[in-house]
Symmetry: C2
Subunit: 409 residues, 2 copies
């Protein structure tokens, strides 16, 4: 199939593109490269060094003999979206191209506004372009398990049958997202569901859990094919972060009691899930939701596993910078991808050890200052320790120019 | 109390400002006057002529002896929001300042993007400004009953207790909005609920039904205090539109079977509800939802009432330009405002006759071409019959410049 991977320069977008390419699909990558700009703003770097996108695409051709098309541009620019889809003529679009960090969205007003407008406008543009150019294109959209929050009842896959005052209906599952980033994904979900209804589009919304790991079959072929790994307080996800902390001799920093339980999955399962969604498209007019994770872990459980695998490391409980329950009920359905054939890679001590080895290899790249959580949910304006206000101003200025553009009417 | 009315130049914002002023509150009006710009874009006008905002505010002083502060500016401009709130120091903010037409949001991509960014960014700015300047300010936000759509179970006020697999929780009521405009209100609701949770803000979300009528106690005092009345296919709401159609000798245009049932209310009850919300503020950290309507009517029922009141007028069933069920279950709770003391003005034949009289008085201002529905939900790009593409381009260009601003990063 012809598959366009939006956000194909990112942590998951890049290995997804490689995986689909090797699986025999014709792959195009779309990216505005802003993820690398966030690194500049924060003053941090991927733990694993990654070449520029043009070089990675060339390296893939050298290693595999396979070509991928590359479109550098921004999906909030409709002309670019239209031109790219018209040129590449995809059958499926895998959409990773959003600002994906909760702490980043909570830095201050400018970052909240940027995250929501960037994510919502990009997705609206895609929906319009698909409707106008080829409504048969299957939109595979990355959502997040964080859209659901932590309700006191079981989480279902997108929809729930509710019996109320003697009547029944199947309705969208109620959402209680926990950051302006997670909120942007909820906004997207509502917009996509509506577009499928009115224009007969087909879409799969993948509510993904927290991904860990860095090695995939294709990434492991060559250092020049590496995907990024973030360990910092803003973009790093929990298990990846703990492994970097362990290796750096830093205590594993657990927010509050660490009873926060979340769905998680191995990076290799992300690729498998996306491929399953792409090769089993939604029907015309169908908006379907898959919960994309394989196991549930509490934060403390993960910390203990890493501490066990890496002797001598301490676990520190720090004040939770987020506003969230650190002990709660959590049970979420995740059978739809298993029914399509997913065979999960469960979290083993081997997987943790492989992550620790990777961190060891790049230990000298770890910046201890970048590990501390610097963004507080309770503050409307967090000061980033890793970014001076002058570098932070680049993105802020962009978000402001967006908002203030409306004055010129 | 000191109350800032955002969107105070609009159909409901203006009479709300007058009503609160006469009730003894100190009122400030904030408006970017873009509602008048939409008239220019569409090539239509309010059925009832209205003076410029500066003149209306002066007239109110002449008639009542009461002063209102006026701040002309755009709430998507954070500096303006900050300055206005710092200057006026409101205890409550009544927020009408959003693009509020479903058909307008469905014209094309540019109008969808404009509606969602305008509404979401404006509200985000308010939330940040309140959190930063004075978290005690009570945000009274206008939402819409359209956020709920038409589920096959009873609609509750914002939240619903769900029993599922032996467990229970009270969760946000699932939303199924029917246009990019209605979606923007759902996005707002989620953002506001979250801000109340993390920053301890207090907010009342008024999910308002469709408002009819034009006469309020204060508006009726003087022609110079009139509020606008829209009868056109894009901004006109159903009963107001039917009355203009009847008087113009145009058949009453019912979309499909006309079984669409909606909550509705008299304009005087809008003012009473807002005053009740303002004088009974939400608690610190509380996000509460009131369903603000008094009666349910089907579209066909309303057409028949108008036809009955205005002999000789025909009812025409036309293809529904929207994608919606034209026969469905509908039953929505609306007791919270009644419990606070609302005494509804129910829809009587006198009220319909008074609207018909108003339409008679301004009959020569009715543009028949403006009545036809020109925006189709099924099309991604509707051609407005009342606006040439060149006038339409003004707003489109603004929305485009927004989206494309992101390229300059």
């Amino acid at each position: 199939m012809r598959v366009l991977v939006l956000g194909g320069d990112g942590y998951l977008g890049w290995p997804t593109a490689l995986h689909l390419s090797r699986a025999g699909h014709e792959v195009g990558i779309v990216d505005n490269l802003v993820r690398r700009q966030y690194d500049l703003e924060m003053g941090v770097d991927s733990l694993v060094p990654i070449p520029k996108i043009q070089r990675r695409v060339a390296r893939w051709h050298e290693v595999s003999g396979l070509r991928m098309a590359l479109y550098v541009g921004d999906i909030t620019d409709y002309m670019f979206v239209e031109r790219t889809i018209s040129t590449f003529e995809p059958e499926a679009i895998v959409h990773f191209a959003e600002q994906r960090s909760a702490p980043y969205s909570m830095i201050d007003r400018a970052h909240a506004v940027y995250t929501q407008t960037n994510n919502v406008v990009g997705t609206l543009n895609l929906l319009y372009a698909i409707a106008e150019l080829d409504p048969a294109i299957h939109l595979v959209k990355l959502g997040t398990m964080g859209e659901y929050g932590t309700p006191n009842i079981d989480i279902e896959e997108g929809f729930i049958e509710i019996e109320h005052k003697g009547r029944k209906d199947v309705l969208p599952y109620p959402k209680q997202p926990g950051s302006f980033y997670h909120l942007s994904k909820v906004h997207d979900s509502h917009n996509i569901m509506f577009a499928c209804k009115i224009w007969g589009l087909r879409s799969t919304d993948l509510n993904q859990g927290i991904v860990y790991g860095q090695q995939t079959k294709e990434v492991a072929l060559d250092d020049g094919l590496a995907t990024r790994l973030d360990y910092d307080g803003v973009f790093g996800t929990v298990l990846n972060r703990f492994c970097a902390q362990a290796v750096a001799g830093h205590p594993l920093m657990v927010h509050g009691k660490g009873g926060q339980t979340r769905g998680m999955l191995d990076i290799r399962d992300t690729l498998a899930c996306i491929e399953l969604a792409v090769t089993h498209p939604a029907d015309k007019g169908e908006y379907r939701v898959f919960n994309q994770f394989t196991e549930e872990f509490s934060v403390l459980d993960l910390a203990e596993r890493v501490a066990h695998a890496y002797g001598g490391v301490e676990i520190a409980h720090i004040a939770n910078p987020r506003v969230e329950a650190d002990e709660h009920y959590y049970r979420a359905a995740h059978t739809k991808l298993l029914e399509l054939g997913l065979v999960p890679h469960l979290l083993t001590s081997e997987q943790i050890e492989s992550l620790l080895e990777l961190a060891e290899r790049y230990k000298d790249r770890i910046d201890l200052a970048a590990i501390e959580p610097t963004v507080s949910w309770r503050s409307t304006c967090s000061t980033l320790t890793t970014a001076s206000s002058s570098t932070g101003n680049a993105v802020q200025a962009m978000a402001l120019s967006l908002a203030e553009g409306w004055n010129h009417r």
